[in-house]
Amino acid sequence: MDPGIIGQSLARIEGPLKVTGTAAYTSDHTKERVAYAVPVGSTIANGRIAALNISKAREMPGIVEIYHRGNVGALYKPSPEAGAIDEARPPFADDVIRYYGQYVALVVAETFEDATAAASVVDVVYADVAAPNVELQLVADDEPAEVSRRGDPEAAYDASPIKIDRTYITPAETHNPIELHASLATYDDDGFTLYETTQAIVNHRNVVSEILNVPRENVRIVMKFLGSGFGGKLWPWSHGTLAAAAARNLGRPVKLVVTRKQMFQTVGHRARTQQRVRMSAQRNGSLTSLRHEAVNDAGMLDEYDENCGEATPHFYGTSNLLVTGGQTRRNIGSPTAMRGPGAVPGLFATESAYDELAIELGLDPVQLRLQNEPTRDQSLDVPFSSRHYAECLTVGAEKFGWSLRSPAIGSMRKDGSILGWGMSGCSWLAARFAAEARVELHADGSARVAIGTQDIGTGTYTVLAQLVAETTGIPIGRITVELGDTRLPPGPTSGGSMVTASVIPAVLEAARAAMKSAIGLATTLERQPFKGWSPEDLNFQSGKIVARNGASGKQIDYHEVLQNASVAMVSGGGKAASTFGEEHPKRSSHSYGAHFLEIAWQPEIARLRVNRVVTVIDAGRIVNPRAALNQIEGAVVMGVGMALLEEAHYDPRTGAPINSNLADYIVATNADTPRMDVTFLDYPDTKLNELGARGVGEIGLAGMASAIASAVYHATGVRVRTLPIDIEKLL
């Protein structure tokens, strides 16, 4: 292996396409004779459709067809084995309305404008309309499931001198990637080709083929560029099914772009959570028990477990622990994973509680964490593969200047503002999905890596090129990356921050197999330096085949070998199994980090902002530091939004998400951006893969809201346990 490319801050290889407007996102694709589809959503959240009057819409110009339950044709519920989907009921499956915006009809027309105009005059008559259940107070419908238990947390709590018992709430949040969800569906003799805004092409194919009841081989999913997803584009949603059904029925391509408003209704959101945290400690700060009991809301038909206790069992060192999770049904569209699902809302609760416990104890929160740092995963009773959380804490404290903090509330002031200093830890899982890859070495000196994964904006194109460059020594500029097509070897889902870790073993193996093939070829060529050599005596280095002992001084460029042998390419395949969700893992693999931050509070003008953030992340080896830094900075800013701004409100009368646009649902803008200082510790986790890389997409968001809430408490004396921390809560 030629070291050097891994760990370099290369600019993204797809950058030129993105800055020239030539990167083709899903809705940029088009086809001959394409028709445009616009779904009609229900304007109630609880009731049923009594009648659908479409005669007026039918008279509108440009109408191709209007689909509804009576004419959409067969659509099936996918089996659990097919893969993941959060709303398994196919669109139009019955006349019951269970959430606001649920699709009731699909207008297909010659132009987008025609379809939009006709959709607005489809008249839906409702019956049995009842008040929607969008109750904010969450009590589990059934007995909550026990996720993790050790020791006797109840007895330890009762016997401890210091206890806290608090409830924390995180609201429904919407992902709001800037790219709208979209589908372009085509259907012909070969089956379906579906251009989809998806973070998981392979899962998409497997699930959608069952919905459409065609063999997997007859469904091809294409997704070359995604305008981000944050989890909202992980699993198939009903608009894609409708576009495919319309294309099938009409025998012509159909394009459907979901509106921003519909994106608040039908493509998932982060579940609302209500979490009770009980912690107890000895007076010296030793954590004697932790109970973390969470409930989240779910849609009426499908289970959805937010898994708030995702990080709790391994993150906290205590002998007595309980984690439970429950669900309660609401008249809302199904929730789905959103950046750092489970851990992000979960850590807001547990890390906030930890801060409250530190205050009860009169201990510094960093000290409390260091003091209770576990040496092995107490829930699984296995060692950590690589845990450097304590160093995240000490390095972060040092960089931030934490030792200068005066703990008394409101005691730190600057330029007329009250400053609050807060900190929080964070953690996120590290694992691999199954992956296959193919690497080709071409006679023109180029290489190609092909893998059916996707780049959702995180830099996967570049990482894949770096892996091949590192292994083969072929310059990065001569490497083509092909992804985003289910015709390629099946690759990992872009979720769980697991793509980089997952592709490493498969791509390295594929590259090595291709190199081996080139070496084999070199030993068969007449009048060439290595004719008759044993392949074991040869090496592939910097794109050349050389003698292993180096003694002979002979070498030949691999592409010359290929040219002389008159072959266009040699290739190799690689395949690695999943480690995700293993029942009895031998190690506990996670990433860790700590945020230290300063907020400024100006009570006179009710202004609250985050001034600066110091973040330290332990995520194994970093393949591309600039790209990784960018992930963390983006997540930190999203964390400012989560803490201070983001919340989807459901109208209690209609069940409609009322702030369903980017003017009323406020995400952090550049004006909210704090100064950021991000450090990566460099401890390769080679138990996970040979390079020791984990993932960085999600962890930066975890712990941000609790750090901000703690800083706000430090400045104001108000502990906000219900996000977001809007100004009204401080006045």
Binding site: A11, R12, E14, G15, P16, L17, K18, V19, T20, G21, T22, A23, A24, Y25, S27, D28, T30, T111, F112, E113, A117, N176, P177, I178, E179, L180, F225, L226, G227, S228, F230, V257, T259, R260, K261, I456, G457, T458, G459, R626, A627, L629, N630, Q631, E633, G634, A635, V636, V637, M638, N661, L662, A663, V667, T669, N670, A671, T673, M676
Partner: protein
């Protein structure tokens, strides 16, 4: 309605419906899909194009017919003679993009900014892109990219002019 619009230096005469938005005209009629659409409330800015070289407009809030007789520059028109515009180069160099969906709007907004204010300070840059949302980057690198381009353009002023 018949309109004549010059887009990236090329004149197009087209028959459009009065209700057609400029963004859709560019994307669907002219096939210039570099201009993106991310909302319908004029909130995200990923549809921004330059009008007559010196006005940043949200093409989702303008009808195509309102562009009649005007000159529009889209992200596809920034590259000159196969060479990236300094802004494009800077967004690439500085990791001013991740998913890249906001990038065309960011580029066109900053393109117009630099025409009016060739050497903006950080606050002015942040003010100028206040109407452009990016959900990925945290903005830091976008600001750095605009700074890099401004420095470069100061060194070679000719590059600033496009399509005129």
């Amino acid at each position: 309605m018949k309109i004549a619009v010059t887009v990236n230096g090329e004149r197009y005469e087209r028959d459009v419906e009065p209700r057609t938005l400029l963004a859709y005209f560019l994307r669907e009629d002219l096939g210039l899909t570099g201009t993106h659409v991310g909302c319908d409330s004029s909130s995200c800015g990923c549809c921004v194009v330059a009008m007559d070289g010196d006005r940043a407009v949200k093409s989702c809030t303008m009808f195509a017919v309102q562009a009649d007789g005007h000159e529009i520059t889209t992200v596809e028109g920034l590259e000159q003679g196969g060479k990236l515009h300094p802004l494009q180069q800077a967004f690439w160099d500085q990791h001013g993009l991740q998913c890249g969906y906001c990038t065309p709007g960011m580029l066109m907004t900053s393109y117009v900014l630099l025409k009016h204010q060739p050497a903006p300070n950080e606050a002015e840059i942040r003010e100028a892109i206040a109407g452009n949302l990016c959900r990925c980057t945290g903005y830091q690198n976008i600001v750095k990219a605009i700074q890099q381009a401004s420095t470069e353009l100061a060194a070679e002023p000719a590059a600033a002019a496009v399509g005129s």
